[in-house]
Amino acid sequence: MKKRDKKDKNENIKKANTIREKPVKEKEQKETSENEAVSFKYELFSEVIVKNPVLVSTIGLCPVVAICTSLKSAVVLSIITYFTMIFSQIISASVLKHCPQWARVALYALSGMAIVAPSMLLLENVLPENMIALGIYLPLLAVNPLITRQCERVAVKSTVKQAFVNAVSCSTGYAAVLIITGFVRELLGSGTLWDYRVFSFPTATALTNPFGGFIVIGFMAAILRWYFKKIDPEYAEDLAVNSRSSIKKPKVKKSQKHKKAHVSSMTYEPQEYLPHQEEVTTQESVQEEIPAEESHQEDEQNLTETFEQALAENTTHIDNSEEQILEIQLEPQIKEIVQEETKANKKIEYTSKELEDLMSKSLEDIIKDTIKETPQEPDADKEVPKQ
């Protein structure tokens, strides 16, 4: 049993990693038609679980939170969402590709209305009570931000088939949340299920209010996050810090954190960088004995050697990774400089602009500046032999 669990875990991690790196590999998949069945499975997994529209990307909350208070409404809303998404994405993939972006947005609303209006007429005749219960939230499905987002991100840049696949998987993710929310809220809020009374214990009618909806999706998002922790802890950590509902942080720090976390998962980086990073960390601990200049020069030599090796092996991926590696390598050294200067009782406050200037300067300039500022102190080493 244990071996099987391990195998499943590795497969899941691979799946999730490949899904996250999808934008890079999309071009390869477009060319090979053999991977189409596999890509549908991954697309479904990605949109329903990894990038669930409501629970991870916080899109289209209005109907889920406000009106999805019974299983019937949930089913009706999800069917309408399916049709609007498929219709809008197919139209935008086939016809709207050459339209200017500002005009496309209006046409999404029009296409959404084209599906919602007939469905409202149908509901008036077939399920009039449900129609009254849904109220004004039903026509708001026409301007569901999920449609605009998916059309702009996927449908306009891909083929009709891929747009269809994306529409189906996104709607499945949305429908899954709708149905589970409707089920929970109806059961706990009114004690019924599909309008049949299940139990008569006084129920928490507050769950049928919008705040009950927020509580239910809050707990569902927490359960999903717990599941992510099990299959891919890095992704869960990433979501905790950089999700659509976290305050946007300055770009410098974000890219560094991101790259530091995913260095091991990047498949195209040559393996030599990992041992070099270990060298840097050991150098930090030995910093007190080696004077600052020599250690920086050694690092520079190491950096140039590794760059030459990398150039020889991987010419295509170097363009961005040079700066990445420089940033990763420079940061600990700049940290050391700051630590040394604060030890010398200097109050230093670097603004983000100053940090960027520091990063753009070469190592030699930084060392020259620090030597100019610090007064020449009597060396501690000279005092020791006197004793």
Binding site: P202, A204, T205, A206, N209
Partner: protein, 352 residues
């Protein structure tokens, strides 16, 4: 690292426990009055509520394998007791535990522990109950009704009119059924632990002696309510009667002592606390005058907790403005004044 964490948790538990023991001592006074008026059913309600809250918190403690457990800081006990004491004596036995479970599981645990919570859990739990089970929470048994017959709460009872209800209907006391002395003793239909004004004033003074930095928030809250009650009376029998009725109705005094003064969710600076309490009082009276519920103080507590950082910044700016004015007018004495006016900030929210 683990040992450091354990030490830190132990210290935090100690701080919170010190505050909570004070609060529980105060709550026990209200419990005694409740038992005096309504019998031992109140004790049973409080006990079930506390057990539910403690079980909920200890489940999470065990699941997360926290050592030492956070249950030792007595905040769950306080939450359970406070929720039960705001309910009517005729409430069913399952009502208070549901409120406690909501308070702990939804309003406290997703935000951490007692020292890092963003809302007062008891206020959130009671707000949930009042929205879900409005009739059960706001119908009180009449004072003359013998409560010994009621065990589970399913039995019928004669409902009395609470003072808050009277205010919302604009009928006044003093016309025969209830007079001011009844209000002071607590012999009036209302929540179990909040009706006796005599006890409430005693707790107010106790708080002034024991927790003076938190007392300031309560005092300004009550000041704001009193000012509005006097300026805009809802009853026609005079402003003093209006003041007495407003302060003795519902859970206003109770919330002023126990909820608005919670040091974790209120601002840290003294001046900010004064403004915070005052704004809370104003908002409570607005909820009372124009809102749908006869008592909306728990909703106000939630909104004020969300706005506490705004009051922090406001207090800071005012302090800087006052200090800069001092330095401009009296340059030599300014240093002494600054030290005297350096308002004692309560770091971490609690002072031992």
């Amino acid at each position: 690292m683990k040992e450091l964490n354990k030490q830190k948790v132990k210290e935090e538990n100690k701080q919170v426990r010190a505050y909570m023991t004070d609060m529980l001592v105060m709550l026990s006074a209200t419990m005694i009055i409740a038992v005096f008026h309504y019998g031992f059913r109140c004790l049973l309600m409080v006990a079930t509520s506390i057990i539910a809250a403690v079980l909920c918190e200890s489940c999470v403690d065990l699941a997360k394998k926290r050592t030492p457990q956070r249950i030792g800081d007595l905040s769950a006990v306080f939450t359970g007791a406070a929720i039960a004491l705001m309910l009517p004596a005729s409430a069913p036995m399952w009502l208070a535990p549901i409120g406690s479970i909501f308070a702990i599981a939804v309003a406290k645990l997703p935000f951490g522990n007692a020292k890092t919570s963003l809302f007062v859990p008891a206020a959130a739990g009671f707000a949930f109950l009042s929205l879900s089970y409005r009739e059960l929470v706001f119908t009180y048994p009449s004072v003359n009704f013998d409560m010994s017959g009621i065990v589970t709460g399913e039995e019928g009872f004669i409902s009395g009119i609470s003072v808050a209800n009277m205010l919302s209907q604009k009928t006044s006391i003093g016309t025969g059924i209830i007079n001011v002395i009844d209000l002071f003793i607590g012999r009036v239909a209302g929540p179990v632990g909040t009706s006796c004004i005599f006890v409430m004033f005693g707790l107010f003074l106790y708080m002034l002696i024991r927790r003076s930095s938190e007392w300031i928030t309560s005092a300004s809250f009550l000041a704001a309510c009193s000012i509005l009650a006097v300026i805009f009376p809802r009853v026609l029998t005079g402003r003093s009667i209006s003041l007495v009725m407003e302060l003795s109705s519902g859970m206003l005094f109770f919330a002023a002592i126990f909820f608005i003064s919670d040091p974790v969710t209120s601002p840290k600076d003294q001046l900010s606390r004064v403004l915070y309490g005052f704004a809370g009082g104003l908002l409570t009276m607005i909820f009372r005058y124009f809102g749908a519920f006869e008592e909306g103080v728990c909703f106000v507590i939630i909104i004020m907790n969300a706005l506490s950082t705004y009051f922090d910044t406001l207090g800071e700016k005012l302090n800087n403005y006052i200090n800069s004015k001092d330095t401009k007018s009296k340059p030599q004495k300014s240093k002494k004044n600054k030290k005297a006016k350096d308002t004692p900030k309560t770091e971490g929210g609690y002072i031992l």
